[in-house]
């Protein structure tokens, strides 16, 4: 049965949300302008209008999730982003796999933030909510799906499949509902993809809050007062955005097989840049609160951070990146709307800032080199340059599009070696930043002159030198660039820890946010240096083959070919590939795929053999995502099994193609990261020519490359899946095939009925052989076997050791914790001022 109610309902709530956003913006602007008598009623009306908007926005999300959750594949969104086999928590990922869902998520977070602001602010409610409602109107317009003449506004997630595609089936039967959806991109079937997008979008959404306070401040001519309420939110935004970025990096590390956590892909750069600017903005805002300088810089940075988030959205979702990114985002025809959204707020912000510019208070005196203002300013500028260096090359595709839209030709492409290109700048900027944090913190907490500075830096400096030397010697860091990195990282940690200890002795923990975040930065630097700079491919140059064209031999082969069961030496390990495995519901470890046969139903299989205590032959078992194959690879040292890793691959027909995910062995001081880059394709084997063997019982012979023994034959009374009649003769031959340490019993069967011969061959896909019992020669006491050979099962593996990657992850946690402490402190300040009636 076709359901059209949910779609219509969702579409209706979208319209309500859009209209109510515009009404709210209007109402709050009236509330703001109204005289004392009318204020109360305008306020009530504005709030009601915003509540309606909040409710309808939430209902958009509910409607879309209902469609996915109840598997309504008559809707395009459910059909193309979900499938029956998906467990519920991945249905949540389906929700935001599509761009429409992502916009809904974004709008939803804005609503949540808006509700908090309405209830925590007095004076600021009206101006801030005007900005909020306008942003909401733009966001909701992205999913409106309204056509006015030739103009399409927004792309609705509630359209029916038959309206979205021109499939011929709908001409025959307009009420056709597909049985199943095409599924969720396997890369997104990961727990981090359930929580990374909401975090990132909360980060996106929250950049609006400081921006809204700023615009409110500029309109109400409270040029400086907006900073206090905006500051805790700016820190909150930086923390959440930072957390979102790190989650994305961690997701990439555990799910994608590009071999790391950060690839300087345009999509990553686009969120990294606003984060840097936001961090710079926080620092100048704090300086302004302390000493009334850097107001202009703060204003520029807050505007930039908000606009850059919109620019990131534009880059990622307009299709402009096209050939430049490995992430494929489809163009939903929203680029015009996104550009309008960006230009509108940029225009408004620049206009208001320019109008206020001459009225802004500036400090006349020059900041001394021994003042914190000076160092903070240098730090903010460094962050700005860092961002500039990343956003400029990332924008090359947008530049090309711009030139082409004016009829020109531009064939510029992003740097060929992205990682090398960005690293050579960002590395030194990061070193400069780390040093600034350590020196800056000393200025921050005490009035200082030349002498006291020297005195307070000497101890941390000496301690860092000693520590760094120890680390450099112990971990054999012999590259001068990395030595500098270690030294800076350690110095950052030690200097900021010194400050932290002093602070804790003197006052409360509330003030510790800054030094904690900076300690985190130092750890991140060291973690990145080791895990990236000293990451070592241990599956290097293992083939031992030489080619006729010698230059190929000189190229590093970073992968190793592992035939099944064949031990291969890889650095300190002997590795053996042990075949494909499946995940079965209720069984903690993996089950060999060869003992399971599909029943044709989704995620269901029948057992071909008994398996431990878990199931018996003939039992029906439930699989966890049947498309997933896990490749079991044993790691041995001194002939003893140390551990097994099971990198995964998923073949998903609906999505088209194979996708593989890594598996890592995690030690305290390093990760062994492995993934399967290529594998055998069983689906359509090209059998080689027949080989015939005549053997007698007990005889040893060679089948393909294997040693095999013919252990004799037996006459069968019954055969699985075959009814024997009176007078039938069935004979089963027993052949043992040896493959390294594995022994396999293959039993082809031979049946005679009414002088007709039937053969039941056996196929072993792991060994890539098919054996049939062709004939029995009683006079010679020999059996005739026909053998066809395909290819043994194999995987092509890449293995990388990443030292001290845990330092990086711990560092990010410390940094995020520092942010949290700072948010608490700044929000506390704001609340105290507000309750005094000052704001």
């Amino acid at each position: 049965m076709m359901n059209t109610f949910m779609g219509n309902f969702g579409h209706l709530t979208t319209l309500v949300a859009f209209v109510s956003a515009l009404i709210t913006a209007f109402a709050y602007s009236q509330y703001f302008k109204a005289n004392e008598l009318e204020k109360a009623s305008w306020r009530r009306f504005s709030r009601v209008s915003f509540y309606i908007h909040a409710l309808s926005t939430s209902l958009i999300a509910v409607s879309l999730f209902e469609i996915i959750y109840n598997q309504r594949y008559e809707y395009f969104y459910a059909y193309s982003h979900s499938s029956k086999a998906l467990p519920v928590h991945y249905m949540i990922s389906s929700f935001w796999e599509g761009q429409e869902g992502a916009f809904i998520l974004w709008a939803f977070w804005n609503v949540v933030l808006g509700l908090i602001l309405v209830h925590t602010n007095k004076f600021w409610e009206a101006p801030v909510m005007v900005v909020f409602s306008l942003v909401q109107a733009f966001l909701i317009s992205m999913i409106l799906g309204v056509v006015v003449g030739d103009l399409k506004i927004g792309s609705s997630p509630f359209i029916l499949l038959r309206d979205a595609t021109q499939a011929p089936i709908f001409e025959l039967n307009p009420d056709f509902v597909p049985e199943d959806g095409t599924g969720l991109n396997p890369l997104l079937q990961n727990i981090w993809m359930v929580i990374h997008p909401p975090t990132l979008f909360l980060g996106y959404a929250s950049t609006l809050v400081p921006f809204a306070f700023l615009i409110g401040g500029l309109v109400t001519k409270k040029y400086a007062e907006w900073i206090r309420p905006a500051l805790p939110w700016a820190i909150f935004s930086a923390m959440i955005l930072g957390m979102g970025i790190i989650m994305g990096a961690y997701w990439a590390y555990v799910t994608l097989n590009f071999g790391g956590y950060w690839n300087w892909d345009p999509v990553e750069n686009a969120v990294y840049v606003p984060w840097l600017i936001l961090v710079a903005a926080i620092h100048t805002m704090i300086t302004f609160k302390k000493s009334a300088t850097a107001l202009k810089t703060s204003i520029i940075l807050v505007i930039l951070s908000f606009i850059l988030v919109l620019y990131a959205t534009f880059l990622v979702r307009s299709g402009v990146l096209g050939d430049a990114s490995v992430h494929s985002f489809t163009d939903l025809g929203l680029s015009g709307q996104l550009l309008l959204y960006l230009l509108f707020f940029m225009g408004v912000a620049i206009f208001l800032a320019a109008r206020a510019w001459t009225h802004l208070p500036t400090s006349e005196h020059e900041a001394s080199v021994y003042s914190r203002e000076f160092w903070i300013f240098v730090g903010a500028m460094t962050l700005g340059l860092m961002s500039f260096q990343v956003i400029l090359p990332t924008s090359i595709p947008a530049w090309n599009a711009l030139v082409e839209s004016f009829g020109g030709i531009s064939n510029m492409a992003p740097p060929a070696d992205q990682v090398g290109f960005y690293t050579k700048f960002q590395l030194w900027f990061a070193v400069a930043l780390a040093l600034l944090t350590s020196v800056g913190q000393f200025f921050w907490w005490q009035k200082i002159d030349k002498k006291t500075l020297r005195d307070s830096l000497v101890t941390p400096y000496v301690v860092s030198i000693l520590l760094s030397t120890a680390i450099i010697v112990l971990t054999k860091v012999y590259d001068w660039k990395y030595m500098i990195l270690v030294l800076t990282g350690i110095f950052t940690i030690v200097a900021n820890a010194t400050i932290l200890i002093k602070l804790l002795k003197k006052s409360t923990f509330k003030l510790a946010g800054g030094s904690l975040a900076h300690i985190g930065l130092g750890m991140i630097l060291i973690g990145i240096m080791f895990s990236s700079g000293y990451s070592e491919v241990i599956s290097m140059n293992m083939s031992g083959l030489t080619y006729s064209n010698s230059w190929e031999d000189e190229m590093n082969k970073e992968h190793v070919l592992l035939w099944i069961n064949k031990p291969t030496q890889m650095k300190d390990y002997t590795v053996v590939y042990r075949g494909r495995q499946k995940k079965v519901v209720g069984i903690p470890d993996y089950v060999p795929a060869k003992i399971l046969a599909s029943t044709g139903k989704v995620n269901e299989a029948i057992a071909l053999e008994d398996y431990q205590i878990h199931f018996k032959k003939g039992d029906t078992v439930q699989l966890v995502l049947e498309e997933n194959d896990y490749f079991k690879i044993d790691y041995l040292q001194k002939e003893a099994l140390q551990f097994s890793l099971t990198p995964m691959s998923q073949y998903n027909e609906g999505m088209g193609g194979l996708i593989s995910s890594p598996d890592s062995k995690i030690y305290l001081d390093k990760d062994l990261y492995t993934y399967v880059a290529a594998m055998n394709d069983f689906s359509d084997p090209e059998w080689k020519e027949d080989e015939t063997y005549e053997v007698s019982k007990g005889e040893q012979f060679h089948v393909a490359d294997f040693v095999a023994y013919f252990d004799g034959a037996e006459v069968l009374k019954e055969i699985d899946g075959y009814t024997l009649k009176e007078g039938d003769v069935a004979v089963k031959a027993k052949i043992r095939v040896l493959d390294y340490d594995v022994e396999k019993l293959l039993e082809p069967t031979f049946i005679i009925r009414d002088n007709q011969v039937g053969k039941l061959p056996v196929t072993d896909s792991e060994l890539g052989i098919k054996i049939s019992l062709e004939n029995i020669l009683p006079d010679q006491n020999k059996f005739v076997f026909k053998v066809n050979q395909y290819q043994k099962d194999y995987v092509v593996l890449k293995a990388i050791v990443k030292p001290y990657i845990n330092v990086l992850w711990i560092g990010t946690i410390v940094m995020l914790f520092g942010f949290t402490v700072a948010i608490y402190r700044r929000f506390d300040e704001f609340v105290k001022m507000r309750d005094k009636g000052l704001e």
Partner: protein, 138 residues
């Protein structure tokens, strides 16, 4: 000179370095013909070439030769001008390679005959363009 001016000059100087290096390190989109000319002019910079895999008359991808250890391979790429070129890639065949609608190779000519790709970007058929609902849905 005031400190503010010094900082300003410093920032401008770094910004100029960044702009110059971005332009200098930027790659470019080329055809195989122009890429070969660049090679003959002694330019070894890695460039981007956009193309499609060579297909035989029945529509099957042809010309992929995998090395014996399966860790590298060569294939035939036809660029947008229709030039066919043998390309070497020092990695196993990527999983969706045969299905890709468009392939971007980033690399340079090794000699007159062979283009060596350091990196490959693939555009796979987007599911948004799926018109074959019947086959996929039943």
């Amino acid at each position: 000179m005031k400190k503010g001016h010094l900082i300003g000059l410093g920032i401008i100087a770094v910004a100029i370095v960044i702009i110059l290096s971005s332009i200098g390190d930027a790659s470019s989109y080329e055809s195989f013909n122009t890429a070969l000319e660049m090679k003959q002019d002694g330019e070894d910079k890695a460039i981007h070439v956009v193309g499609k895999l060579k297909k035989d008359p029945s529509g099957e991808v042809s010309g992929i030769e995998v090395r014996e250890d399966k860790t590298s391979f060569t294939f035939l790429l036809v660029d947008n001008e229709g030039t066919e070129q043998k390309v070497f890639y020092n990695q196993p065949v990527p999983a969706d390679f045969h299905r890709s609608e468009q392939v971007v190779v980033i690399g340079s000519y090794r000699d007159q005959e062979l283009f060596v790709a350091d990196k490959i970007l693939m555009k796979c058929p987007s599911k948004y363009q799926e018109t074959d609902v019947q086959a996929a849905g039943m």
